[in-house]
Symmetry: C2
Subunit: 348 residues, 2 copies
């Protein structure tokens, strides 16, 4: 049965457009002979757009994006110290705004150490885990404030907000992932210090674990978790954690897997109320933009996550397999487009 998927594409800034071009190339190739068509609408959003007309995320564009079936995003953000961007917070105003408005309560970030990719770790072992990071709560809610700003008496507060509703839905998703994988779930938090949020997370994990008796549950403080990520990353299967700890752990995970040039992610709304958004974990890297130096693999693996989310597991598997083959054959430096072309050629 022919099916059309409305895909919103946000190439973004820096290397974003380059890696998105390769991701779309692979998406088109892998679905070419299928009955699924991707109808793409591009949205020019990011630091570049802001510098041109002062817009970060106009309401009308947000409303359109909300109607899409899925979103592919490259990377957003300008040069770190660009004074013209100091006032705008592109991260909060665009990226986090999308995650919150589209209720992306699951931020899914897999980590695999491919046998042919050199990890900075001497002996990483067989690493294959996913981090299920909460995406709509915690210290990311933007709930805080300052008084006596700019004076020696300034006080700045940041409030981490955690709800049973919000924690439960992401924890249930994580258990389902673990159940379909190696059946091991590790809650990461800092319950000995953040006692209020910590008690809530532990209670919910205990409760939901009753529904998944086959899943073994473990707990680690966030500081200890970073130790294990470098000394024994193979121990992990599914990690579930809050928004901020998940941010930290997934960058670290990306690094140990051989660089965030390989790290894909999905900002998922499992209920389907709003479109889910797929993006590489890396940033816009303005210093190498437009030079065909960026590795599009993370963006291409994000397409695999997108295909999985849309129920196109077969196509997703073909993309992942092609990426594996490409990684195994890598020698010398290639341009962004060359990597994309190679992966297209390797599609089974």
């Amino acid at each position: 049965m022919p099916r059309t998927v409305e895909l919103a594409v946000i190439p973004g800034d820096g290397i974003g457009p380059e890696v998105v071009a390769e991701a779309l190339k692979v998406l088109d190739a892998v679905t070419a002979d299928s009955d699924v068509t991707f109808a793409k609408t591009e949205y020019r959003l990011g630091a570049g757009r802001f510098l041109e007309d002062g817009e970060v995320l106009p309401e009308a564009e947000l409303a359109e994006i909300k109607k899409a079936d899925a979103i592919l995003l490259g990377a957003v953000g300008g040069k770190p110290n660009d004074p013209r961007l100091a006032a705008a917070n592109i991260e909060r105003g665009l990226l986090l705004k999308l995650r919150f408005e589209l209720d992306h309560y699951v931020n899914l970030r897999p980590t695999v150490v491919y046998p042919t990719v050199e990890s900075p770790l001497r002996n990483p072992g067989e690493v294959d885990f996913v981090v299920v990071r909460e995406g709509t709560e915690g210290p990311y809610v933007g709930n805080g404030g300052s008084i006596r700003i700019g004076t020696p008496h300034e006080i700045a507060n940041e409030v981490s907000v955690n709800t049973a509703y919000g924690v439960e839905r992401v924890v249930r998703f994580a258990f389902a992932q673990a159940s379909a994988r190696r059946k091991k779930l590790t809650l990461v938090h800092k319950t000995n210090v953040l006692v209020f949020a910590g008690k809530l997370w532990r209670r919910i994990v205990d409760e939901v674990s009753m529904e998944f008796p086959e899943v073994e549950v473990d707990y680690l403080h966030v500081d200890a978790a970073t130790i294990f990520l470098v000394t024994d990353p193979a121990r992990f299967d599914v990690i579930v954690t809050d928004n901020l700890f998940g941010d930290i752990l997934t960058d670290l995970a990306g690094a140990i897997s051989g660089g965030i040039g390989l790290a894909a992610s999905g900002n998922i709304n499992p209920d389907g109320t709003f479109p889910s958004m797929f993006e590489p974990v890396h940033g816009s890297a303005p210093d190498i933009a437009g030079q065909q130096k960026a590795d599009p693999t993370a963006a291409i693996l994000s397409v695999a996550l997108l295909l999985t989310h849309l129920g196109l597991a077969d196509a997703a598997g073909r993309v992942t397999a092609a990426v594996r083959q490409d990684l195994a054959a890598r020698t010398g430096t290639r341009s962004t487009a060359e990597v994309g072309d190679s992966i297209v050629t390797l599609l089974s």
Copy 2:
């Protein structure tokens, strides 16, 4: 001129007493022929004490400890899942209580990758940095709460409190450290998300940097900092950061340096209003307690920090040099006491 230092000793739980015994052995040996005498008073505090008489930190003992010149602590905390400890939070009630009551606003944690110690990193490079972690504010203040506890409508908040007063004093300390070292300071925060606290930290770093024009200042988001800690840790000299980020980064730093069996720390009150407290970064490791399996090196290096803090730089240097020599000569497994004895023998 003869001098007596009142030293409060808190051996604590698990491997705490074993590593403290070796640390004191080294302290006694290195000061044996000097005019400094350490008058030691032992305080039985920790999970063990709580299980015996229900006390975590009695007011009278806290008052006595406050009068000491310095504190040496082993490790506190019982078995992770001991139900008898569930109600008491030894970490908050004892360790954090001491840090807050004694106004330990600098948590100083050096990381060195010793040439003879195997790091989990393939190629760590020449790593020698210190983390200056804020110790009395941030998400550690215990400011938060829960409503509708135990129901599907529970909300749990955690408030990170940051003050210009608190940030400035730790930032100034960090700049002074950098100025006496390789003159590079990296602020680690998450200013793009935690905008209120982030603006405060950036402003204070900018302001204090005027007083230290010789120090080069860099900024990294906490997620990016974890990447660099595994891909290029040699780039760091002094890192200054908040209480929670510092907790995470120093465990990771300990891991990359070859294990937190080597990581020392000082909880410092630079003003001298209250005694500073020196402790290994590692925990009480109840699983190997009493078996002479623990490495006392972190506790012994904490003695070196203690000596430095007391102005006994020469003795501190002798301890560090002996530890270096011991690490260089390590072969096979040795008992906790054997490591201590070896380091004593190697004291110049």
